[in-house]
Symmetry: C2
Subunit: 317 residues, 2 copies
Amino acid sequence: MKQLKKFGEFNLINYIKNTSAKAKGLLKTGIGDDTAVFAGRPGWVLLATTDMLAEGVHFLTEMPAKKIGEKALLSSVSDIAAMGGKPLYALISVGLRKNLPAGFALDLFAGINKAAGSCGVKIIGGDTVSAKTNIINVVVLGEAKNNKYALRSGAKEKDFILVTGTLGNGAAAFLDKKIYLPNLKISFAARAVEKGLINAMIDISDGLSSEVHHLAKESGLGAFIDLKAVPLGPAVTKTAARAHKQPYELALNGGEDYELLFTVAPAKLGKVLTLAKNSTVKVTVLGVMRNKKHGVKIAGLDGELKALIRKGYDHFA
Amino acid sequence: MKQLKKFGEFNLINYIKNTSAKAKGLLKTGIGDDTAVFAGRPGWVLLATTDMLAEGVHFLTEMPAKKIGEKALLSSVSDIAAMGGKPLYALISVGLRKNLPAGFALDLFAGINKAAGSCGVKIIGGDTVSAKTNIINVVVLGEAKNNKYALRSGAKEKDFILVTGTLGNGAAAFLDKKIYLPNLKISFAARAVEKGLINAMIDISDGLSSEVHHLAKESGLGAFIDLKAVPLGPAVTKTAARAHKQPYELALNGGEDYELLFTVAPAKLGKVLTLAKNSTVKVTVLGVMRNKKHGVKIAGLDGELKALIRKGYDHFA
């Protein structure tokens, strides 16, 4: 029988997605966006997301446990930020090797608690089991005002495509066997969404190329981005050179930056830039949403237009 | 530095519990009950629980993947049932080995979907990652009417202690390297709680002895149970004999039965027994809650009264 590495992660996700719940009744959004969305307390919807981090894939036990914990919590909170939501609660499950030093487990939770405190998240549930490898699963629940959350599917033709912060940092840190702790833009995103300034949003967990494709596909549109506009993180060029990689390759396909990619109607661009400035959040215009017939394109450093290749990380490849 | 197997699961849980959120504001109950409880849509509270199942600990890949999936979903739904809640949504994270046959993963999700369908649960989110061992994490969200849910801490002195179904089935199946699929009593529990018939409730995941201690401790009481009254599952005696174990040992300390242990005020016992009969749910009176000064005691098969030893499963021992 075919092994998972031949079957592929995307086939498995498609199978799960096809058999999962369709939005109906209390459920506003199921699998397929940054979080699920369902009816909450009066005037609010609840947001729910789950993320698993595995030893050898997302982290190594040689890395500092406290930072692993911080990253685990932040990467799930990032999904709430990508809806324009406010994170509230987390449920943490850990599978840990029996021979792991107890201090590693305590540091891991110290990191989880530190990150949770910085985001206003309360730990309300968990599970601890022994396992043959170390695994952390973080569920974050958040909320947003009714009809005030950003889906991947809301982009409109001619919307500008913007990104927060700088890219390539996650991949560069991983090349150095370090952990990159993202700087989440939770309140900027929540305020921009509440003011109706953002049409569609996604967080950059798999890499810019993959996320641009998600926005285009879910919104039934094409997209154009300009590689020269992509803001590289401070250490990305140097780290890429040491590893004989192209710095823009890390930004496009590296992933784990947890910055926000979002689209804005042309008439609202000024307001978004002002809000970003007042929030001391760096935002950069990368491109524009286009009619589906144009496909998803990128202008390279040489200015030449070509198809944007989607190189999402396939866990089972 | 001390390894986890010397530090112990309960020390780790205590550390997590001590640093986790205290109930306040929208949060009604944090870590320490079957689920967390927080404000939901008007008139309702939301319930959230997370459970991790690891290969080699909770299941073996030689076991049928579909049943592993069913069990994974049901064991989390059981926590919602133990609050008297209605399960609504699940978020599934899986860590899978790359060399795993793709059919295993598909069967696993077929089992998860089957069990979800049988409980009225919708799959609304997930994550799929590669890992060095197979791991499944199931989060279930449910709801209950405001002030109509059963905590572990609600038992009163003189309450009768009852259990649903029969015990020892989970442990007996594991001795046979089989998977026991629990028969959850979701609607009986929800109706009994809504009618105000149940003071405290917990599901039996770690074993009867451990759960009786939980009810007593959280309620600030002692407890007395009669071993002769403990209802054994149909195959438990035979399987125990083959494995040279005492059948009551499997019921007391085996775990994974996912039956409900609950307490009922003497004046309401008749109503509970009638509701159980009308719901075709077997319930058995096992004992009574007592003043804390009496401790937690069990009358053995010989009628002799002794301390009930709590043999919870320590994952890291």
